[in-house]
């Protein structure tokens, strides 16, 4: 199947909430921004688009619309049509299938449906959620127990919606990052739980702290990769030196000087984003003019090896550098510190370090947005952002579209946002797609 990455050009919806039809053209070069009164379907559309990419049959099965069509510039379109009798037909290019969700007991109480909607997955552990909803609804224990038993039985049967297998492969061709309006809380899988425990452990924590942990992990993984390449280079080094010495090739002094500078600059850049220790690697306080012709091939071989070692850090270094630059350019009186130990900390004017969780709500919001966009996307991902303006001062709202777009440009990310903030669009009215007119 051809690859439609990054070129979603249109969203066509019929019968959203049983009343609204929309044909939304996406801007191909800049973020597209959905606006509309509460309840017009902005967030719902973002959720459904994300569900298409994620192969989330539950959300697609329950999408409150009759027809849904994603139009791509080059790749095959995706469409969903709801059947009057229940279930939906989905198409992706020439592939076709149906989604049927197991009917719930018709006597199912309203509070239990709400609990299910929150949990979204029949196979997830629901007891705690069910208990909370039952308590809030003053449900009897018998009713609670009936519902609990129903869910336990469905879990044992591993009941899933009947959906085509290809639905789960769409994300490979249509990657989507969905940044919700609940982005300050991150759900992460608890890897420490024993495999024998059937239920996955889902831990909820502050997203900025999760981001710090993630950055630390990425730096540590890059360290490991760097070490592997270093060992390879060190093994090759004696042979490479002998080859260079025997080749009789004369090393250009000017070129050697440039190489020294290049390695030096790269090493400084890597250190500045926490990727190399200050005492790590080669310290080239070298004046190329003072290097004799016999030693020059050795130095050159060494520097070439150092360059190759550092290349494995390039991708992460680019992201960390962009992240730090973005944060430091916006925060007042705080600067980001990146390290393999703690991932992300912030230094105050007096040098005191604080944790990301000690940032203001607006600072956390912008940190999470930047982190998600820079670290959680692959090239040409469609980034969906619900209410990017949350907690942001109007000055940050003014530049938000340009800021996000700037961060995503290198990876050719496409953006679709939903907002209620006039300041976000004040300078870009042409990017607005209003859902109010229907």
């Amino acid at each position: 199947m051809s690859d439609p990455r990054g070129d979603l050009v249109g969203i066509h919806v019929r019968g959203l909430f049983g009343r609204s039809d929309y044909d939304i053209a996406l801007d191909q070069r800049r973020p597209t921004v959905l606006t509309g009164a509460n309840g017009t379907g902005k967030s719902t559309l973002l959720r459904i688009i994300n569900a298409v990419s994620a192969g989330d049959a539950y959300t697609l099965a329950h999408a409150p619309l009759n027809e849904f069509h994603l139009e791509f510039q080059a790749g095959p379109d995706f469409s969903l049509s709801r059947h009057a009798a229940g279930g939906s037909t989905v198409r992706w290019g020439n592939q076709r299938g149906t989604i049927d969700w197991p009917e719930l007991d018709s006597e199912f109480p309203e509070w239990a449906i709400s609990a299910l909607l929150e949990q979204r997955e029949l196979s997830e552990p629901l007891d705690q959620t069910l208990r909370e909803y039952a308590r809030a609804a003053n449900a009897s224990f018998e009713e609670f127990d009936h519902v609990r038993k129903y869910f336990r039985s469905t879990r044992q049967q591993k009941r899933r919606p009947d959906a085509p297998e290809w639905l789960h492969t769409i994300s490979e061709h249509f990657p989507v990052l969905y940044i919700t309006d609940q982005r300050l809380i991150a759900s992460t899988e608890d890897e420490g739980r024993k495999a024998s425990q059937s239920a996955r452990g889902i831990t909820r924590r502050l997203a900025v702290e999760a981001a710090a942990t993630d950055i630390a992990r990425r730096i540590q993984e890059a360290d490991s990769a760097y070490t592997r390449v270093s060992l390879q280079e060190d093994r090759r080094f004696p042979g490479a030196v002998i080859d260079a010495m025997n080749s009789g090739r004369k090393v250009d002094t000017v070129g050697l000087g440039e190489l020294v500078d290049e390695v030096d600059a790269k090493r400084d850049a890597l250190r500045s984003v926490g990727l190399l220790d200050s005492d790590d690697s080669y310290q080239p306080d070298l004046d190329p003019a003072s290097i004799g012709p016999q030693v020059a091939p050795v130095i050159e071989t060494f520097l070439m090896g150092a360059t190759r070692k550092m290349e494995v850090l390039d991708d992460l270094a680019g992201k960390l550098s962009a992240f730090r630059k973005f944060i430091d350019g916006r925060f007042t009186g705080k600067r980001a510190i990146l390290s393999r130990e703690s991932g992300l900390r912030f230094a105050l004017g007096d040098g005191t370090e604080i944790r990301p969780s000690e940032l203001s709500s607006g600072e956390q919001q912008i940190t999470v947005l930047a982190f998600e966009i820079l670290f959680k996307t692959s090239p040409s991902t469609l980034v969906l952002v619900d209410e990017p303006e949350l907690s942001l001062h109007v000055l940050w709202q003014d530049t938000l579209i340009d800021d996000l777009h700037g961060m995503g440009r290198a990876s050719q990310l496409q953006f679709l946002m939903a907002t209620h903030a006039p300041a976000i669009l004040a300078n870009h009215p042409e990017l607005e797609r209003s859902l109010d007119r229907h």
Binding site: V394, T419, P422, E432
Partner: protein, 314 residues
């Protein structure tokens, strides 16, 4: 429709918040529309912040609010295309464009349109004089069509007919522009002045007028061309039409049609728009009345409005 501040007061509050939060040395400038913002930005200091008010009432409300709070440091630039309350005229921190809008200032006063167009046709013209002759023809025609289009707009306002349409892509209301009028390209390529009735007919189709509205607009527009200009006492006075009637963005659209036809290129309006922004003569900018008054304001406030090299004329 479209997302907007619920009231001018809401916009004024947002400007107040910005000014309070900003370093006092950074200039905060409020303009009426996004095209004004795009026109102005290339000439300002890189730290200066320009906010589009999306409407004159918002811009004026912001000015009143800041003055009420005694909070200086905000410069409001408004277009010379309508009534300005008497108490706001002549204020140092409220500047009115020389032409109909700031963009028209840039295009006409600062010669940006001519300079850009000359660059575009340089490859197909036999000599510099040939290029200049071609471009002068294009510009004269664009001014003529843009002025007549504005006459029809004003006539529509006068008779109470709609002047805006719902953009099919953004879902927002916006002004009808040449791209919405099917014959606008033909008018630019013809050798005779377009008939006001034809413009009214195309406008009618775009804005959705009734036939009686169309007739009333055409009649009113016909009357307006007979009114002599104040400065020269002439009806259909080109210099005064350019100054008083031409909307900057209309000129850009109309000129881009001609440039494409002349050169065989397919420049999009946005590309032309961008090209024009970087084509203005910086010496002329320094002598532009908005620039000189703006610089005086900036010096009185201790803010950086223009880059150093741009303020010699101030």
């Amino acid at each position: 429709m479209g997302l907007a501040f619920p009231s001018p007061g809401g916009f004024a509050q947002s400007i107040y918040q910005r000014r309070r939060a900003l370093d006092p040395r950074i200039a905060l400038v409020v303009v009426e529309g996004t095209t004004d913002r795009r026109a102005l930005l290339p000439f300002l200091h890189s730290d200066a912040i320009v906010i589009s008010a999306r409407g004159r009432s918002n811009a004026i409300a912001a000015h009143r609010r800041l003055n009420l709070e005694g909070l200086p440091g905000v410069l409001v630039l408004i277009d010379c295309d309508g009534e300005v309350p008497a108490d706001l005229k002549g204020l140092p921190d409220l500047i009115i464009s020389a032409n109909r809008d700031l963009e028209a200032d840039l295009l006409i006063e600062l010669g940006a349109l001519r300079r850009f167009a000359l660059d575009v046709v340089a490859d197909i013209a036999s000599t510099r004089a040939d290029a200049e002759a071609r471009i002068d023809t294009v510009l004269a025609r664009a001014i003529l069509v843009a002025a007549d289009l504005e006459r029809v707009r004003r006539a529509a306002r006068f008779v109470g007919a709609r002047t805006r349409l719902i953009d099919p892509v953004t879902g927002q209301k916006r002004k009808v522009t040449p791209q919405d009028l099917p014959r606008s390209q033909a008018w630019m390529m013809d050798n005779h002045r377009p008939d006001l009735d034809d413009i009214a007919r195309d406008y009618c189709a775009a804005a959705g007028w009734s036939s009686s509205e169309e007739a009333a607009v055409a009649a009113q527009a016909a009357v307006s061309v007979t009114v002599p200009c104040v400065r020269h006492g002439e009806a259909l006075c080109t210099p005064c039409d350019a100054r008083a009637l031409c909307v900057g963005h209309d000129l850009v659209e109309l000129v881009s049609y001609c440039l494409n036809a002349l050169t065989g290129l397919s420049l999009e309006i946005l590309e032309v728009d961008r090209g024009i922004r970087i084509s203005s003569d910086r010496d002329l900018v320094a002598r532009w009345c908005v620039s000189t008054r703006g610089q005086r304001w900036a010096e009185s406030q201790g803010v950086a409005l223009f880059p150093e090299h741009n303020t010699t004329g101030g």
